[in-house]
Symmetry: C2
């Protein structure tokens, strides 16, 4: 297909498609003339992935490029590839805290094994520190409850990963990590709203 059809099917302006091509987020098409190129279904799939990452996924073009590099060059095993993809994704929050000992102690309590330089470990440590500084330290009970919920979905997320192709596994993990995070946060807020209606208004909503 030509670039106009590619853009239409990806639901993006032609100018945006050209920008992604220039930035190398989407591979060039096959040249069919001096200024014309042909694109196929792989280009369309890639474009939809880029759109998902930079749109609702909230990634910058630079961050998307790093994630896509992990998608394109998956490491040896699925586990290594998932690690590379996770590492390329921006952490849920930016601040790197000085000390991860407390976060690490909780993980040990739950029997979770993660790499010492796992970005999520630093995010967790930073958030725990901020909660304490804000005057609402997270209790062990609260963290256990969050870990139970996150553990249930995280384990099933991994079970859902297609294992026949490393490349497909990485694509799946990237999309699901980026796009199911807003789903999870939105659902928590909606559950809070529902619960607040029930607790504070007697259920009138």
């Amino acid at each position: 297909m030509q670039i106009s059809e590619l853009a239409r099917r990806a639901d993006l302006p032609v100018a945006t498609v050209k920008y992604y091509l220039r930035e190398g987020l989407v591979p060039q098409g096959e040249l069919t003339g001096a200024t014309r190129a042909r694109y196929d279904e792989d280009h369309l799939a890639r474009l939809r992935l880029v759109r998902a990452l930079t749109g609702p996924g909230g990634l910058s073009v630079a961050a998307a490029r790093e994630v896509l590099a992990a998608v394109d060059a998956p490491a040896g095993s699925v586990h290594e590839a998932l690690g590379a993809a996770h590492r390329a994704l921006p952490p849920p929050s930016g601040d790197a805290p000085p000390d991860v000992a407390e976060a690490r102690a909780h993980l040990e309590r739950w029997g979770w094994r993660v790499a010492p330089d796992s970005p999520a470990l630093h995010t967790l440590a930073g958030a725990l520190q901020a909660l304490r500084a804000a005057g609402f330290p997270a209790s062990e009970d609260l963290l256990d409850r969050y870990a139970r919920a996150a553990g249930e979905i995280g384990r099933q997320d991994v079970a859902d990963v297609p294992s026949d192709s490393v490349a497909e596994a990485v694509r799946f993990v990237v999309v699901n990590t980026v796009l199911l995070e807003p789903v999870l946060l939105a659902l928590r807020r909606l559950a809070q709203e529902d619960g607040s209606g029930r607790r504070f208004t007697g259920g009138a909503g």
Copy 2:
């Protein structure tokens, strides 16, 4: 205390404290001279809240100001106040989708009652649409699983809200919404990493 001690106890540079005072995020101290003011524990608590929102919470100064306005002027009931605080918080993701019917149908299935203009409802609808566009539509099973996990923590979050003071309830909800979101996302990624190690490397981590 003087501004230097206030800054030291909040673990912030004096210049940052002055900036927050100028921007009205923290109320002015009591003037004790032409260029000197005195600050108390309330100023310190407020400064820590601002630091948590703009640091690990990831809010811009403008977004923090809106959230603090909700904290300062809580509406009538706790439920209304929580709604105002939620509405002031930036949504987990920015895109407003055209259609929330699918998201709404899921909520009805779960028996969750939320306002028709709930920002989280739009976030959910946008993410569901993006997942479909990216070629990994969320199945009903997956959403049920996420809703179960989010429902457990969201309901308990609401049960934890202090109910004796509307102002304190709102402060609690704002801090917990903003700072437990990175905790939840970090825990999900850590659970995925742990699960991936077990599934794809036979548990060697």
